[in-house]
């Protein structure tokens, strides 16, 4: 009996092998993952990991869309964990399936299992008699092999030295459909799905989050030809029509007849840090003893040459700002409520819909289809529930609900505002002796299923006695939320970090790419630069002097080499360069970034260099694509983006109110991958976010000698920083 392997958790939770792989179609291996495609290329990478173990070519693989009755349940597709969870589970499942088929092949061929080779889905055994090799394919064997068995854990996946497909830049499986508009005549995106008899729904939203509907006149909308239903329950208001443009027109007409009662309950957009400081909070010591002092001024420098410094950093509310507003489809019959969603947590969404509508879980069947890139918790879950409620009024007919642009900007959750204060003491030798840090802001996760209370927008609008449950964080050991990367990865003797998770949630907030890590790393890495400058030590050397992990040091040295960084390098007037580093979640991938900027009227990023170590690289081009995309998105966040609101309403309604990066803003980008086939593969979707923003801030300082600590680093905040520095 072989020694049992340690199985990945999501495979242990879904032990039946038939849930992962099937061979129904001749020549095709169907893989089923519990992770979903968000544009990050994950299904291609997971397919590579599975195909590698099965001994099939990537062209023989199809990845079936996630569907709750069949697919393995692997919780949510979040936190850059899909390779580590979904990929590993697929790897171990496929290794075992290959072993089962190899045993069947060996038996039929009359040879020992160890002598069987697998290539392109064919098991073969060469022998010395001069006859052609004996061979049998998965599809020839599949009738006699049952995968209706549980994973045993007796089979080890391949050693990395045997990899051929893992480590190659296999072409994205979803590429062709997305550049031609359809895949074999089928819908590519959820938005494109067309079901027989499908109707179109649109919602009418309150003008502000806590507004209540006082009155509405449904007659005009119902009078429009092609309008079938107006659905009105308290402040939940929607319309169903035969044609999409009729539904839009009816929703506009309906909105024009509504009277709402609004409340002034939003904070002052211009003073968010002060607002956060004043809020009640749940406090958690994340490192050291928390903060033992009352006032940072009480830190006593040990000698004349030591110094202390205190800085405050902030980020505004950010929108996920998907290009395609969220869309959902639902259909009720006597047997089921079927929904189609681009949610990142299909099983949790199914459970949440069942909970709110008081249905048995298995009555709700949820299917995933690709959506527009979400980068976190956008409106995907909410719109699916909207569709389910509307479809309940026209049983037997599918209803497609498409959110409009202003709905996505106003009603999908935001990445929350944060403030972060750091004080440090640096010794005469240039070593940090003490680091005291405090963080203020909401927790970051309000995905459905994280609280006992209903977690979908439509539920709160339908029943006004319900309040949205407060956001939660994961434990820091699992990556946290507001606390993500709050504790510096650097080594110093006194590292005190205290999190104030503020309780009131004035603006609905939830997970946005990297969660709290964006501001936590921006602040820590900006502050490291401030300390290095004050200590008159090259910021690269200063960082390396505080690191022990050789992989961290190597990733920094790699980007330094890539960018040709030299201490005190002379640049053109108004230009600057800056560096930053982080290990994502302190347990994930390593990323070091150098930005080269020019500052005239605004910050123009000319070139970004990044080195990334994510262990064993599954698909190099996929990793580079994620890093390039992460860098550009964060440049957009840190230079341009802030949600706008007055004391009552969110005033960001269109792209005019929320500018993002354009083609002409985009810098040159060079990514260096440090591949470590012997190491665990680490997800890579979010690792460059924090370091990129900090590298830009450090480059801006290098160019202007002005420290911008409030995001975004737009003209308004740069001028504020110049004025603050001069006073």
């Amino acid at each position: 009996m072989n020694k049992l392997v340690q199985l990945p958790p999501t495979l242990k939770n879904n032990p039946l092998l038939k849930r992962w792989v099937s061979f129904e179609q001749d020549g095709v291996v169907t893989l089923r993952s519990g992770k979903v495609e968000l544009g990050q290329g994950i299904l291609t990478a997971i397919a590579q990991m599975g195909a590698e173990e099965l001994g099939v070519s990537i062209s023989q693989v199809k990845v079936a869309p996630l569907t709750t009755p069949i697919s393995p349940s692997e919780a949510s597709t979040t936190g850059s964990r899909s390779i580590q969870e979904g990929g590993e589970a697929m790897r171990f499942a496929c290794a075992e399936i290959r072993d089962i088929f190899a045993a069947a092949a060996a038996k039929r061929l009359g040879v020992p299992k160890e002598s069987v080779q697998t290539k392109n889905g064919v098991f073969s055994c060469s022998h010395n008699s001069g006859r052609p090799p004996l061979s049998l394919s998965y599809w020839q064997l599949s009738a006699g092999v049952s995968l209706d068995v549980e994973v045993s854990g007796a089979v080890s996946p391949k050693h990395h030295s045997q990899y051929s497909l893992v480590g190659s830049s296999a072409r994205r499986l979803d590429l062709r459909g997305k550049i031609t508009g359809s895949k074999d005549g089928q819908a590519v995106f959820l938005h494109d799905i067309e079901l027989p008899g499908m109707l179109h729904g649109r919602m009418v939203r309150p003008p502000s989050f806590h507004a209540r509907l006082i009155s509405v006149d449904t007659a005009v909308a119902l009078g429009l030809s092609g309008v079938l239903e107006v659905v009105h329950e308290n402040s939940f208001l929607g319309v169903i029509a035969e044609r999409e443009e009729t539904a839009i027109k009816a929703a506009q007409l309906l909105a024009s007849t509504c009277t709402w009662r609004e409340q002034e309950c939003l904070p002052d957009e211009g003073a968010l840090a002060n607002y956060l400081f004043d809020q009640a909070s749940e406090d958690e010591v994340l490192s050291g003893a928390g903060l033992e002092y009352e006032n940072p001024k009480s830190i006593q420098p040990k000698s004349a040459k030591t110094f202390e410094l205190t800085s405050l950093y902030t980020r505004p509310y950010l929108s996920h700002a998907s290009i395609g507003p969220s869309c959902g489809i639902a259909c009720w019959t006597d047997e089921s409520l079927e929904v189609w969603s681009h949610s990142q947590s299909i099983y949790a969404l199914r459970d949440e819909i069942a909970k709110i509508l008081e249905l048995p879980k298995n009555f709700v069947v949820a299917h995933h289809a690709d959506g527009s890139g979400c980068y976190g918790h956008n409106g995907a879950d909410d719109v699916t529930f909207d569709a389910a409620v509307l479809a309940g009024c026209v049983r037997g007919k599918p209803v497609r609900v498409q959110w409009m642009r202003d709905e996505e900007f106003n009603w999908s959750p935001m990445g929350p505002a944060m403030a972060l204060k750091i004080s440090a003491v640096v010794s005469s030798s240039g070593q940090i002796e003490r680091w005291d840090q405090e963080i203020w802001g909401n927790r970051h996760i309000s995905r459905p299923g994280r609280s006992p209370e209903p977690g979908l927008l439509g539920a709160w609008l339908r029943d006004e006695s319900l309040q949205p449950p407060p956001p939660v964080d994961m434990p820091i050991a699992m990556g946290g939320g507001s606390q993500r990367n709050a504790v510096p990865y650097y080594e110093f003797p006194n590292k005190n970090v205290l999190n104030h998770a503020t309780l009131p949630t004035p603006i609905r907030s939830s997970a946005l790419r990297a969660l709290g890590a964006y501001l936590n790393i921006f602040s820590i890495e900006s502050f490291m630069d401030e300390l290095a400058n004050k200590a008159q030590i090259d910021p690269v050397t200063f960082r390396i002097n505080h690191l022990q992990d050789p992989r961290a040091i190597e990733v920094i040295k790699s980007v330094v080499k890539k960018a040709g960084w030299e201490p005190g390098r002379a640049l053109a007037e108004n230009e600057g360069i800056g560096i930053a580093f982080a290990r994502y979640k302190n347990i994930g991938n390593y990323a070091a970034v150098i930005a080269h900027v020019e500052v005239v009227e605004s910050v123009r990023v000319k070139h970004v260099y990044a080195s990334v170590d994510c262990g064993c690289v599954i698909n190099p081009d996929g990793v580079i694509n994620q890093c390039e995309g992460g860098i550009i998105q964060v440049l957009s966040w840190c230079l341009k983006e802030r949600l706008r609101f007055d004391r009552t309403r969110i005033t960001t309604k269109s792209w005019d109110d929320y500018p993002i990066f354009k083609f002409s803003d985009v810098p040159l980008i060079d990514i260096e991958l440090i591949n470590r086939p012997e190491c665990e593969s680490l997800g890579v979707g979010e690792g460059v976010t924090g370091p990129t923003a900090a590298a830009v801030a450090n480059a801006v300082y290098n160019a202007l000698k002005v420290r911008v600590r409030d995001l975004p680093m737009d003209a308004e905040n740069i001028i504020k920083s110049i004025n603050a520095q001069e006073s």
Binding site: L38, G39, Q40, G41, S169, R171, R172, D174, L175, R176, K178, I179, T180, G181, S182, A187, V188, F189, H191, D192, E194, R243, E244, E245, I248, A321, S322, I323, G324, P325, D370, G371, S372, G373, Y375, Q402, M404, R405, D621, N625, Q626, E628, G629, G630, I631, I632, Q633, S636, S654, W655, D656, I660, F661, K662, F663, S664, V666, L668, I669
Partner: protein, 151 residues
């Protein structure tokens, strides 16, 4: 439309986008904002890239409309631009890609060898949230450099 004639019976102010997607079942053209601000719904009308979300259908009869589905020439699987997008793996989520391909095609058909500034001018009205810009630019330049080589 993509070299074919269609007759539809709809209210004349209906945006072209909904006719394409729901009547003609050409789902490659995407709804993004409905305000003409993001380019996801771009189609070529008489060779020029326009927002189909803000083009009423009454403005379309008699004009040549091309969508992403009509980019490949007859008998071809993919257009030169689509081949370059595939080779450069120029997608992340892919939602904006249809509009980007259309804007790039509109540019290249009148200006086969555009400068960077001309490419930016043609594409700045197309928003991409995933940050795939560098790949799109690489793919577009691949087509222009191939053309330069072949002439």
């Amino acid at each position: 439309m993509n070299q074919c004639d269609y007759t539809v019976r709809v209210e004349e102010n209906t945006p072209l986008l909904y006719i394409l997607r729901n009547d003609l079942k050409l789902k490659g053209t995407k709804f993004g904002c409905g305000l003409g601000q993001c380019g996801a719904c771009n189609v070529l009308i008489d060779g020029r890239a326009v927002n189909s979300c803000s083009t009423p259908v009454w403005d379309c009869p008699g004009k040549a409309i091309q969508t992403i589905e009509g980019l490949p020439a007859a008998g071809e699987l993919l257009s030169a631009l689509q081949i370059a997008f595939e080779e450069e793996q120029a997608i992340q989520c892919g939602y904006c890609v249809s509009g980007i391909l259309i804007s790039a095609q509109g540019l290249l058909s009148v200006n086969p060898n555009p400068s960077d500034e001309e490419i930016f001018a043609a594409l700045d009205a197309n928003l991409c949230r995933c940050g795939t810009h560098v790949r799109f630019l690489r793919a577009i330049k691949k087509v222009t450099s191939q053309r330069v080589k072949s002439t």
